[in-house]
Amino acid sequence: MAAPLAPTDHVVVDGVALLKIVNHCEQAQSGYEQPQGVMLGMVNSLEKSLEVTNCFPIPPLQPQEDQQKYEEKLYKYQMDMMRNYRHVNIDSLVVGFYQSAYFGTFVTSAFLESLYEYQENVQESIVLVYDPLKTSQGFLSLRAFRLTTESFAMMGTEDFSSESLRDTKMTFERLFEELPICFRNSSLVNGLLCELEERNPLRTDCHFLDIGTSSVLEKSVRLLMNAGEDFIKETNGQINYLRQYNRTIQMRNQYVSRREEENGKRKQRGEPPLPEEDLSRQFKLPPAPSRQTTLLTSSQVTRYSRQLNEFAAQSLAKLFAIQSLQQK
């Protein structure tokens, strides 16, 4: 299914969907999994946008449940929810899923697989990643991602070896593409917003101007370190594999040359040559490790560093502002 992705180049999120996501992630109990949910909406080909109009949460896996039953129940749950929503005229096209990610940690293979599944059904599916911690600091953090054509094809073949990576010139940067997001409300909701403003006019958010940066910096650096370590582990695994591979090839060549020699000597003496042996069983080549994890880790690390840069930019701005004030 390597058809070019549909021409949607931005995402429009409705206010209702946004607030539902925020509320769900706020109230979700901290369990094993990050809160996740399904998004409903429609594709607007005139404006080349994907509109998200509503969403519903997915109940988390309870510790005592087993995976199989959970998946069955989940399927039924989704069908029921969608049927009910259709009854009250809410759009019933699944356009993707949303996931909450603390500090931007979301690039895992489970994530990739879910996105692939959703994108298989509806080509324009996206995933909305929401960072609850950043939002409580005052910056609404919502990003939309989609698998690129190359990564989509790659997931289809499930072949992540080095050769295929080289052939398709796949880098970790091209795993996802980010889409810009706009929020939109209807006019009635606008009226509601004006009403809300009237009721709570003085609640300004001074969270923006908080200069206490050390805790966030610390956390980000620690995450960066961990991801970096993961990456090193992966690279070491790769190196080991290469070493083993070479060694096996060498041993095999030695064996073959020795046999040739033997055969040559035997021919001289007039004896029948030694039977051909199946070499592949004797010298088993080690299996090539999948490069998927490397891709994921590098993508995650780059994401962390970009986030850190953004955060650093705004904290520097604040610090400079304070400095100039103090000089007065």
Partner: protein, 274 residues
């Protein structure tokens, strides 16, 4: 009369009600739905979420799809097990005769259900919302009836919810009501400007009072002096060292993260080359 119950509503509930009202089918004049939330201490009821329930009204008769309601509630509880039914809402019309029968049904589900009325067709000129509970009235030993009595409503939101609503508020006066997601630095800039405006207003007020144009208000004076007192008095060089230290930390972290990024990119280049 029972103790005054008060209600805290989250913005999401209002958004959903309006959304449901906008999506109603042709013949329906109003929408009805269930309110979900928690009972707080001190007689406050917090309404956190809601879902709409299809119903049909023919003159004075009303039929609410109870199965749908039960089904949705069960589904909802899978994700939010702590929510309870606290009442019902109606958007689109005032209280009518039929409201009582619906209220009756909800009284079986919740202790003292709240009835939230949102004025979606904007009859009063603005989008008002009122909450009622049913109170018995009438003369004892004669006819007793029920009356909807209003209770105070407050809009309450979680911190991140508040941030999201603020982000949405920026689109109030734009033409197509679309709001772009701004970068962090621009947000800081706008916040600083807001702060500057507020300070300018305060300074203007103080100037006016000093020049005698308007009488000073002692309450404002006291809060102003409290404000000035909260600015910490730190000697100049200490403050500078602190700020410099922070700036250095941030710069170092930027450098490290960029180093990592370049390393990774190099790695990728090598991979694709070989």
């Amino acid at each position: 009369m029972a103790n005054t119950v008060s209600v805290k509503v989250h913005p999401l509930v209002l958004f959903s009600i309006i959304d449901a009202y906008e999506r109603r089918s042709e013949e329906q004049k109003r929408v009805i739905g269930t309110l979900l939330g928690n009972y707080d201490a001190r007689n406050t009821i917090e309404i956190v979420q809601c879902f709409s329930v299809p119903h049909s009204e023919v003159e004075d008769e009303v039929a609410v799809e109870l199965d749908y309601h039960k089904n949705m509630y069960d589904l909802h509880r899978r994700s939010f097990p702590s929510h309870l039914i606290v009442g019902w809402y109606s958007g689109g019309s005032e209280i009518s005769e039929t409201s009582f029968s619906i209220h009756d049904f909800y009284a079986r589900e919740a202790k003292n259900p709240i009835h939230l009325v949102v004025d979606t067709p904007l009859r009063s000129g603005k989008l008002s919302l009122k909450a009622f509970i049913c109170a018995p009235m009438g003369t004892p030993r004669k006819q007793t009836g029920l009356m909807f009595t209003p209770i105070p409503v407050e809009i309450h939101s979680f911190n991140p919810e508040h941030v999201a609503v603020n982000a949405l508020m920026k689109g109030r006066f734009t033409r197509n009501r679309m709001i772009e997601n701004a970068a962090d630095v621009t947000l800081v800039e706008t916040a600083l400007q807001k702060m500057q405006n507020l300070l300018a207003r305060v300074v203007a007020y103080v100037d006016e009072v000093l020049s005698g144009r308007i009488p000073g208000d002692p309450k404002i004076g006291r809060s102003l002096s409290k404000l000035v007192e909260t600015v910490p008095q730190i000697p100049q060089d200490e403050l500078e060292t602190m700020l410099n230290g922070n700036t250095n930390d941030v710069l170092m972290v930027i450098y490290l993260s960029n180093l990592l990024k370049t390393q990774l990119m190099l790695n990728e280049k090598l991979n694709t080359l070989s």
